[in-house]
């Protein structure tokens, strides 16, 4: 069986993307400035939410949904968790980071613990209550998360990750408690519920941009810029394809992309 059967264009596209990222990274490291990332209100609101929780003396809760370590959304959520942990450690605000997935839990714990230690707030990190594995399965975890939010009377909710049917169950509780809620997911079926019950929602790729936006890390920023180039090329391909389909035949272009 040929290695690239039906995957050749996929491989070439990814190699071009990788080369673009590499070239941009080299330019960035040689001192050239990268383009500025546009303002994302949802991410700016994280500081507002944690600030409000600090003023009220109530906890901030962070959840990253049901995705495992093989989910891009879970990986993207780690940047937001690190940022939230650092902010909470800085202002001595209680952070409750909850996990539903056993494999994700140790990574979250390592991120939060490291963030506290780096800010010299190792004493504020509670190894039992800061990062919690609440339950497995979306039904039980939604129930446990609802209970935790109500009992701890959280003032800020950050829900970033792969959420499914539990979205409404948990965000409605947050809204009921009067907490500032910032949510982000790439699961389009859940976005309407986040938009209707949260104060700020990061839609799809805005959520993936969070890492670059919050961390100011050059590697992540370069990835985002390279993906913008990829999107610009996609726009051009779609325009060419639609024009070919309108005035001629787009089947050659379709076959080429599926080669």
């Amino acid at each position: 069986m040929p290695i690239f059967e039906g995957q050749l264009i996929t491989m070439i596209a990814q190699l071009i993307l990788a080369a673009t990222i590499f070239a941009l990274l080299r330019r960035s490291r040689s001192g050239e400035r990268l383009p500025k990332i546009r303002r994302l209100a949802g991410l700016d609101a994280i500081d507002e939410a944690i600030g409000r929780a600090t003023e009220m003396g109530r906890p901030t809760i962070f959840g990253n949904g049901s995705g495992g370590l093989n989910s891009a959304q879970t990986i993207a959520s780690f940047s937001v968790l690190e940022y939230a942990a650092r902010s909470c450690a800085r202002y001595d605000t209680q952070l409750i980071a909850v996990s539903y997935v056993a494999s994700v839990y140790p990574v979250m714990e390592a991120i939060v613990r490291t963030s506290y230690l780096e800010l010299g707030k190792g004493d504020s990190y509670d190894p039992v209550n800061t990062v919690r594995f609440i339950a497995s399965g979306w039904g039980a975890s939604a129930s446990a998360l609802q209970g935790t939010m109500r009992r701890e009377r959280v003032a800020a909710c950050l829900f970033m990750g792969s959420y499914y049917a539990e979205t409404t169950m948990i965000t409605e509780v947050g809204a009921n408690l009067g907490a500032i809620q910032v949510a982000g997911t790439a699961n389009t079926a859940q976005l309407p519920f986040m938009i209707s019950s949260c104060d700020y929602t990061l839609i799809g790729e805005e959520f993936y941009a969070a890492g670059a936006y919050l961390s100011k890390d050059d590697v992540q920023k370069v990835n985002l810029v390279a993906l913008d180039y990829a999107k610009a090329i996609t726009v051009i391909v779609i325009i060419i394809g639609a024009l070919l389909a309108t005035f001629g035949d787009a089947s050659h272009l379709k076959n080429f992309l599926n080669y």
Binding site: T188, E206, L224, K231, T234, I238
Partner: protein
């Protein structure tokens, strides 16, 4: 119809009402059922993992079929538990299975999802914008312009030239229309779940209404 005499039905009805009581406010009965739910879910997860994955792999694949190569992922998986060790020379080993997990996940996304989720959607947008049927024509134009506008909304590092900056805004409206439709669709499907519970409470438990179950 009459009220149920089954203990299981009474238990299920009681638990359903206890969970619904959380809608009013957090209370000890809700808390009790919440903890039972979490406990049962954890127990069920452990048992189903052992029965469906661990046992068949060890007894059938390894011992009966002699696929000894499966011992390698098992040994790598067991390294997860080294995180419980306080010895720093050992507990770093738990990062090896996690790195595998992330690596395999990324590889699957790159090789399998790219074509299915990206290229197929790009080619599906190659639609003729002139058609004899005006409805099909409008549909195709909305599709192509909608996709391009939504894509333009997700440019983060550069702004579109002045004349074109209407597209991201239009893309946002298109997304909101889509989300509205998805919201209505999901709310209706959730209603059927609620109806199922109400049928159980009013039919199977209290016997007020007829049920087919």
């Amino acid at each position: 119809m009459q009220i149920s005499t089954s203990f299981a039905v009474w238990l299920t009805a009681g638990m359903t009402l206890a969970i619904y009581s959380g809608v009013y406010k957090e209370n000890p009965i809700y808390r009790l059922v919440e903890h039972i739910y979490v406990g049962v879910s954890a127990g069920n997860g452990i048992v189903s993992t052992i029965d469906n994955y661990a046992k068949p792999t060890i007894t059938i694949d390894i011992f009966q079929n002699g696929t000894y190569s499966y011992l390698i992922p098992i040994l790598i998986g067991l390294l997860v538990y080294t995180r419980f060790s306080k010895n720093r020379n050992i507990n770093w080993l738990n990062r090896i299975p996690l790195a595998f997990w992330v690596g395999i996940g990324s590889a699957v996304v790159l090789t399998k999802n790219f074509k299915a989720n990206f290229i197929s959607q790009v080619t599906a947008t190659f639609m003729p914008m002139i058609n004899n049927d005006p409805l099909i024509m409008v549909n195709n134009i909305v599709m192509v312009v909608g996709v391009l506008s939504v894509l333009s909304y997700f440019f983060f590092s550069f702004e579109l030239p002045k004349g074109l900056n209407v597209f991201p805004k239009f893309g946002r409206y298109i997304m909101m229309i889509g989300f509205g439709a998805a919201y209505g669709n999901t709310v209706l499907s959730r209603m059927s779940v609620l109806l199922g519970r109400l049928q159980f409470l009013l039919g199977n438990w209290l016997g007020i209404i007829e049920t087919r179950i």
